[in-house]
Symmetry: D2
Subunit: 137 residues, 4 copies
């Protein structure tokens, strides 16, 4: 299994009055890791959007185990769990550097659409992009 | 089943380059609805925090069915699915006003903690708050 | 002078570890008020974007006088300070409902551009939109 | 003049329907740079808050010259313009790496307060912190 590790440092704006990262921000961290993970295949997600492939989120699931704090260094692991011609599922795990505790864990399900949000069969319409993504498995 | 309906209008800042609401914002909409729903019990969530009860998110799950756009009016329904002395699970459904289509649907699981993030038995420690929340069932 | 009043309730996600609204969110509040203010002219800002007029921010200035807290009700006043064929300047004042204290005050400067971000002379290119905006003065 | 350079990569969540970074996010970028800049003095901003010194924003001013896009690499320069026992003013300039164009430029004015948001004279109350900050001039 191929995976990627992305580092983020918790921003002040991401904390809330409990003193920890507001929970929806972990979905943003997931996305940063997903973007970097995809970039490894030799084509950035930005390039995909530029040629008309968008990969919106159909579903997100996240478990919050510990509260990350301002200025904490976090490592986000991302990997592909499933990949088909019309869907991709990514998994994530967020680790706090200083004590190696898992902060959050989750997954996101995606589909491939064109600029009009119509689902596309990536394998048929963009076989070369599909094979790039397959290298990430 | 008791439920609540909260209205929001999509903010420009909540959209992304796809032209629709960035997915993590639906978790924020869920929270707005949860807050208003709880406020109905006769004690606001803010008051609960002021006396030392916090209700952090342990888990969130969301399905994204349609993309809400800037300035869309959305109605968020919220209701309690489960309530015990140590946990609460809320359900949500977000409807776009103009066509009554469901935009997103999800749930969040919570626990009750004190200011030191220690889990508390709400029924034992704050029975009057517990009975207020039970009215929301 | 014409002005508009918009209500917002502070969201949990908008607070930070200081326990108050994170400062950049006031710019988002300004925008909500600006949108509602413009909507009064008989054409929504969303409709303007749909026909190819965008009004991006060139400059923002904000003074933060008091810290708004979670669940606080705020009223945002917005009005136009200057309007020309190529620019508009909006002023804002944010009042906390419960004690009528001013929380923040500021302004934003804007220009009119087309979908390619080229500056347009609104009076020449869209005289009917220009006269709608002039009603807001 | 001492300054610091911080790198950020534009996140998808930071873009809006215009396809560029939503303007209030530049204030968040300023803060990331300010934090890193302060950390250089031998004491992190997080440590300052831990001993009871907070440095809230009194005023922010920003000019937006170009629209940064998703995945763009940006460099944020930060430096102190003024420093007194009760106030600090920081300047910022954000450069897009690929073409070295300036994207945004601004400043923030701050005061020093304790945990009760009372203004403190940093030089008198925390002379050692004051002298650390003075090294940043």
């Amino acid at each position: 299994m191929n995976f990627n590790e992305t580092k983020v440092v918790v921003r002040y704006a991401e904390t809330d009055k409990m003193g920890v990262v507001y929970h929806s921000n972990y979905l943003i961290y997931f996305e940063i890791a997903r973007t970097e993970f995809i970039n490894q295949c030799g084509m950035s997600y930005r390039d995909m959007e530029d040629i008309g492939i968008m990969i919106p989120v159909l579903e997100s699931n996240c478990k919050y185990m510990n509260g990350a704090k301002y200025n904490d260094e976090l490592t986000i692991k991302a990997w592909i769990e499933e990949l088909s011609a019309v869907r991709a599922k990514f998994n994530y795990s967020i680790i706090r550097e200083k004590d190696q505790k898992e902060i959050a864990r989750g997954n996101t399900l995606h589909t491939f659409v064109d600029n009009n949000f119509k689902i596309i069969n990536l394998k048929k319409k963009y076989p070369e992009v599909m094979s790039k993504l397959e290298q990430l498995l």
